[in-house]
């Protein structure tokens, strides 16, 4: 039987939760707090941080597995992986620029918010690579789900449930991730002079090609200058990335060039390509004004341009990643503008998240879509099963939950 005992740090977390549950006192759950500006503000007297839970506990490059405590800074993990010639598959963004917090984000925070970067379309989301999780529930119990193997369908997949739950179902203490070799080379085609519709058509053709495109974004005129290496390109620019061995990058970009090139197309090799996609990953083209709100809308890729068009009259603008399916938006932080974004996403049967706004706005509006009543009932029951006293990050995702 393998039932590892709770670590000392987990015992301490469990003790805090036990006491808070008994007193019915809400806890703010965070790592370094870099994402505390996301979603709804939490009203809590006390903060429970995973900051002290730091360190990589297992790295087995040959088995494509890395395990680390939740409070480990992500950059430490990225460094360790780079030394092993590997990388984080989902390419999680660093949103410190957007969220105005320059502390290093933790692995636990990235997993708890299921944030994925541009590679999402080809290789999956953060949640797709969480193989195992340890967490302390609102019942002050240490539970494990998953493991350290790539395939696992043993029992209900609580890894999926906890990933993206923003600390509302349990305090994640340790995470086991699938990792992969980092491709030795990358390259990008920058196709200028394309409006959103034409840009997404080009991205769709690239993603529908046999060449395993791992990045597909569109940046509108006026925002192109915020992406390094694109200066001087006219109009909106569609970006198509390949990551492979050098000969494959060259061959595949050559074939894509034949199919997609327009006048002025630029080919970026490994280093400039990496700089471009770091900027796209971190939403650098968005550059919101100091007081503006930021939204992340997810729709089917072909609907991205329609969302942009629908929100434009409300003074909301943005750019597209994930082949058009991820719409990054920024605009005035008020309820009417928020309603316009919500309506545009809903009209395309998509989903959305208010990623950044002043507390007054994000405390007052829906920050993610409401669930239909029958599903909301299940949400409440599942939340109650893991956090019966309702003390873990209450109200973070939904008001009153």
């Amino acid at each position: 039987m393998i039932h590892p005992a709770a670590t000392e740090a987990e015992e301490a977390i469990a003790g805090t939760i036990r006491a808070a549950a008994a007193a019915k006192e809400p806890l703010l759950i965070e790592g370094h707090g870099t994402k505390s500006g996301m979603l709804r503000p939490v009203q809590a007297a006390r903060t429970l941080s995973t900051e002290g839970l730091s360190g990589i506990t297992l790295y087995a490059p040959k088995e494509l597995v890395l395990q680390a405590r939740a409070g480990t800074p992500l950059r430490d993990i990225e460094t360790a992986l780079a030394e092993g010639g590997q990388h984080l598959i989902a390419e999680p963004p660093d949103l410190s620029g957007l969220l105005g917090n320059d502390k290093p984000q933790t692995l636990g925070g990235v997993v708890a918010s299921n944030l994925s970067g541009s590679r999402r379309i080809a290789w999956g989301a953060m949640r797709d690579h969480v193989l195992g999780i340890r967490a302390v529930t609102g019942r002050a119990e240490v539970i494990r789900s998953g493991g350290r193997v790539l395939k696992n369908v043993t029992g209900l997949d609580l890894c999926k449930l906890l990933t993206g739950s923003h600390g509302t179902l349990g305090v994640i203490t340790e995470i086991t991730l699938k990792v992969l070799p980092a491709p030795p080379a990358t390259g990008t085609l920058a196709l200028p002079g394309l409006d959103a519709e034409a840009g997404v058509r080009a991205l769709s053709a690239a993603l529908g090609s046999p060449f395993s495109v791992t990045g597909a974004a569109w940046v509108p005129p006026g925002r192109v200058g915020r992406v390094p290496g694109l200066d001087g390109l006219p109009g909106g620019v569609a970006l198509v990335r390949i990551e492979e061995i050098p000969t494959s990058v060259e061959y595949r970009l050559g074939r894509l060039w034949e199919q997609l090139a327009v006048a002025g197309t630029r080919l970026l090799d490994t280093d400039p390509s990496r700089a471009v996609w770091k900027a796209v990953r971190d939403a650098a083209p968005l550059a919101p004004g100091q007081d503006d709100a930021v939204w992340r809308v997810s729709v089917r890729p072909s609907a991205g341009p329609s969302v942009l068009a629908a929100v434009a009259p409300a003074g909301v603008t943005g750019f597209l990643d994930w082949g058009g399916g991820l719409v990054w938006l920024t605009g005035p932080a008020d309820a009417a503008t928020h309603a316009a974004v919500e309506a545009a996403a809903s009209a395309q049967r998509g989903t959305w998240m208010l990623l950044r706004a002043p507390d007054t706005l994000r405390g007052a509006v829906r920050v993610v879509p409401d669930e239909p009543p029958a599903l909301a009932r299940i949400t409440r029951a599942v939340k109650a099963s893991l956090d019966p006293a309702g003390i873990l990050n209450p109200g973070r995702i939904y008001a009153g939950l």
Binding site: M1, I2, A60, P61, K62, E63, G85, N114, S116, R120, G124, R127, D128, R139, E141, G147, R148, V149, L150, K151, N152, V153, T154, G155, L156, D157, L158, K160, L161, S165, L180, P181, A182, S204, L207, S209, P210, S212, I245, T247, Y251, S298, R300, P301, S302, W322, R349, G350, T351, V368, P369, P372, A374, L375, I378, T379, V382, S385, L386, Y398
Partner: protein, 485 residues
């Protein structure tokens, strides 16, 4: 025979009323209640266990599924969702007092969207049926379980099915965008849709691999991918399991991710060769099938690199396919493995543990020791890229002692998998087969937490009962719930 929960006497007593109630909801030919016609539904791919159900309902719309579930919920009737019945873990084994909800009539492809690279299909469409529908346009649906000709996408969602190409393309969960589900009280819900990463809790992820415990899946939106320009396989044979295992490590360490990396041990090589005449080396202790993708030049490059790595491990033979025909020949033996083992043994159990790949030689050695001590032969097939081990335990079903020993042997293997850091099931699911072993992998309070989540969806435990969770505990939870109520 595996222990099953006691049938509810009141449900058995109301059998005729329940059948009449179902008939009132569905077309004439969509309810089966005659003993002779119920017989085909008594078992699934785990054919050692059989139980004729109370009745079978065969809906062909989501609305009919909702009506059936609402009816069963009102009447306290247990429901067993069933696709093609290919489960190797008894995931669709009926109960005497249960209605089998057969999804095979819901076999329509509803939408194919190439611009957004997704397709929406009903739950009873076969796995290969999705690929067949988009293949002419150069697309495919990635997960490819061995049973893909027969198994249905609804069952794939239930078991989070994988296949031989997971290392690159992932399992079912990684290839889904949306589900239409029906809850036990007959509510129809859309989960996800045609976009990525819905906000809120990841119901899509939780429902995938839930083995029909939480809801019934009626429609599925999957990602479809453009097929690569080509694929080619090579075969490498080695003098020992240890050497072949070290070669797998070296390939992964080189940074190359082959699209498939399959391992066969000596008994598997012999069984497959006798069956398929694929030209496998009979003097080898272990063999790898390695497949790469890309254009001709990319395939050449990758296969050359991999062959150079294999060369460092003193291979007995190394065969790089030069054409699609030669690749098919290399795969032919492996793909026929189940049939091949079926030919040398009247019956076999196909196990499905997962282990850290580094522990493979040790695990194979200990399986061989168990094989000697139980006096039962075993052949091992291993998805080496993702650690998924399929020992095929050969036995004679006409001899109850032989079957009992085979089950014990299987349980010992899975316990070993957990002991070395792996898990009970990689892609077949827990079903009835492994439910009592869940206590090997999970502590009591961890199982209790999973059961609470089951209860959040299905408070009366009507959906696919007696699967996944140890039986004793299941009745205890229900008793606990009743006390709490």
């Amino acid at each position: 025979m595996i222990r099953q929960p006691d049938p509810k006497p009141d449900v058995l007593a109301r059998r005729d009323t329940i059948v009449a109630g179902l008939r009132a909801l569905l077309p004439e030919d969509a309810v089966i209640a005659e003993a002779r016609l119920l017989k085909p539904y008594e078992t699934d791919g785990l054919s050692a266990y059989r139980q004729v159900p109370l009745a079978v309902a065969l809906p062909d719309t989501t609305e009919q599924v909702a009506a059936i579930l609402a009816f069963c919920h009102r009447n306290g009737v247990r429901v067993i969702p069933r696709g093609a019945g290919t489960s190797l873990s008894g995931g669709a084994l009926p109960l005497e007092d249960a209605v089998v909800l057969g999804m095979m009539r819901m076999n329509r492809i509803l939408d194919i969207n190439y611009a957004d690279r997704c397709a929406t299909v009903q739950a009873g469409v076969t796995n290969i049926g999705i690929t067949n529908a988009v293949a002419a346009d150069g697309f495919f649906y990635a997960p490819d379980p061995s049973s893909q000709l027969a198994c249905m996408i609804g069952g794939n969602v239930g078991m989070n099915s994988g296949g031989a190409h997971c290392l690159k393309y992932g399992v079912t969960a990684n290839n889904l965008l949306g589900l239409t589900i029906v809850t036990i009280d007959g509510e129809v819900l859309d989960i996800g849709g045609d976009h990525l990463d819905a906000a809120g809790y990841d119901w899509l992820g939780l429902l995938t691999g839930a083995e029909g415990q939480l809801a019934v899946v009626t429609e599925v939106t999957v990602r479809i991918l453009r097929a690569p320009e080509g694929a080619r396989a090579m075969l490498a044979a080695f003098k020992s399991n240890e050497i072949a295992g070290a070669c797998v490590d070296a390939i992964i360490s080189s940074g190359i991710i082959p699209v498939a990396l399959e391992f066969m041990d000596r008994p598997a090589i012999h069984a497959c060769e006798a069956f398929a005449h694929a030209g496998y080396p009979l003097d080898a202790e272990a063999m790898l099938i390695i497949e790469v993708e890309g254009c001709q030049a990319e395939q050449d490059h990758l296969l050359r690199e991999i062959a150079a790595i294999c060369d460092r491990f003193d291979p007995i033979s190394l065969k790089v396919s030069q054409s699609e025909e030669e690749s098919l020949a290399i795969w032919k033996g492996r793909k026929g493995a189940f049939g091949a083992v079926g030919r040398i043994s009247p019956d076999y159990l196909c196990m499905d543990g997962t282990i850290p790949t580094s522990r493979l030689p040790e695990v194979l050695r200990r399986i061989q020791e168990m094989s000697d001590s139980y006096g039962l032969k075993v052949a091992n097939i291993f998805h080496a890229g993702d650690g998924n081990l399929h020992p095929l335990i050969m036995f004679d079903a006409n001899d109850p002692a032989s079957f009992h020993k085979a089950e014990q042997f299987g349980a010992d293997i899975l316990t070993l998998c957990v002991e070395v850091g792996g898990c009970l099931t990689g892609e077949h699911g827990v079903g009835v087969e492994k439910r009592d072993l869940m206590q090997v992998q999970f502590a009591p309070h961890e199982l209790e937490q999973q059961r609470r989540i089951k209860s959040a969806f299905d408070p009366d435990w009507l959906l696919n009962p007696s699967k996944v969770f140890p039986l004793q505990a299941e009745t205890a939870t229900q008793a606990g719930l009743k006390r709490a109520a």
